[in-house]
Symmetry: C3
Subunit: 221 residues, 3 copies
């Protein structure tokens, strides 16, 4: 059982919950939307990346649609965010941490699933990153924010590194243990280091980068 | 012939025309676009939801591409809107009604097609709602409006109810008659009641919802 | 070998490089994004249209993912734009020409591939146009510009004409030579004529079209 479906499923559901919570909180803060809007944005954030991945590798209907546990967990996360938004919305760090958890988990599970479907290593690493940033990007487009992946300190880079490590782990037989959790932890560490130390990716020569929206920090639309 | 292709096709073409008209009128009012832009937005509104559904269930190329009647009807609707925009643009109620017709038809046909492709009941109901709101959401993203599904009084909810009723009708053998038309009529009734009485879905506790863009009312981008 | 994979591949890679350069330059000018953002937008512009086409015809994983030459060429184009942006950004004409090259190539290769997958002539012409304008449209949505296809002088029209000519060339046995290059050149000629002479598609009766964003001219987001 080289890919350990149980471990990947557990990680995937953790990431789904974290992204749903983050996406719904971002929605509540960034635009004034009703319950349907919050649920929609939470669920889109949570399962959008996985849907993009599954459509691109031809695994349709996407797992997040066929397996109701994803939809259930995503809905639960969004509902928690909706009803506790007043309590949660000042917890900026918590939102960023939830986002980093989802990012770390999805880059690893996305890359692993892409390998299962026969993609090459480079392509699998890229698809892992797409899985990780796809849901948040869809959410940002829907609420008219510039997507975090374009402007944020070290957002796509840790996802790409985590996905690449997952590919290496599978190829070298270190997956699922210890390779997959290590890859996720490395992604999480780089992402959080980027947040804490405000590390930047270089901008084009002769330009100064504007302040980017921090993902999950609720910049206005 | 449990799904009655003829009835579903007829409903689908009615919805396609209504959505094309609505999408093109919204385009003319919301942004100043040329003939190509109006046609593009009308057609995207009309067939975008069906394309999303077909990609997600793996029915590619999408029916709206393979069967030229969809493209023909969508183009006709957009052309009518383009040439009669001066006459039509003050008819706000007509635009909202066209939108509600498309919503009602597509939630039902979308859910029914998803069932045909073997999806479960919950998933089929969700895909019916995606079919119904997908085209308008794509249009709103292209013209930089916050999608109606996120902010409008009772927009996604009637689509979800109509789709769920269609699933029940198919599962209990009441489809295509009388179940499918009844499901569409219920969706239409709830949507129009929402418009007429300005019914709202609750917002997050402690928050006041902003005025949402009414779908089809042409809020500026 | 009726479709001449070599010729189509060569054209496709030229278009990919041109679109990546154009997309990355647009990104640098329109929004202040970092290296990751510029690479992302360059690559999305370059391969987004082909991915849309491949998903719609069911050719997944998309060729641009499976064949690393596309990703390599797209990345190279985006890197050139990133490091030479200060030099290139005053070259407005060059950017427009790069964009027209990508447009001309992709409408032809997109239509040809759609025919290969069994689509009818009208559908193949439309998919050719989608291939040509899809990447730029995704880029514009991500950086919150109204997509060029909706507002620009003769942008979608030459793509549709080029794609239709490619369909005719394949159907009449004039492809790949001389039909396919001729179709691309005709598209390029119409597009550049539109730019040079500021030709417009008519707007809705009684309306004056606003100044549209010129694709690649870097209107602010």
């Amino acid at each position: 059982m080289p890919y350990s479906p149980q471990l990947l499923l557990a990680l995937d559901l953790i990431g789904t919950f974290a992204f749903a919570l983050n996406g719904a909180l971002t929605a509540v803060r960034a635009v004034r939307v009703d319950l349907v809007g919050v649920l929609t944005l939470g669920v889109v954030t949570a399962i959008g990346g996985g849907i993009l991945r599954d459509v691109l590798i031809g695994s349709v209907p996407p797992a997040t649609f066929v397996d109701l546990r994803y939809l259930g967990v995503a809905t639960a996360g969004a509902l928690v965010a909706f009803f506790l938004s007043a309590q949660l919305e000042r917890m900026t760090l918590a939102i960023v941490v939830f986002d980093a958890v989802g990012l770390s988990v999805f880059c690893v599970t996305g890359a692993t699933k892409a390998l299962e479907f026969g993609l090459g290593g480079v392509q699998a690493a890229l698809l892992g990153a797409v899985t990780a940033v796809g849901g948040g990007t869809l959410r940002d487009v829907l609420i008219r924010r510039v997507p975090a992946v374009l402007v944020s300190d070290l957002y796509a880079v840790p996802a790409l590194i985590g996905a690449a490590l997952a590919v290496v782990a599978v190829r070298t037989g270190l997956a699922p243990l210890p390779g997959v959790p290590v890859a996720a932890v490395v992604c999480f560490g780089i992402r959080m280091a980027g947040v804490v130390f405000a590390l930047n990716v270089p901008s084009a020569p002769g330009r100064r980068r504007d302040e980017g929206d921090e993902p999950g920090s609720g910049g206005s639309a």
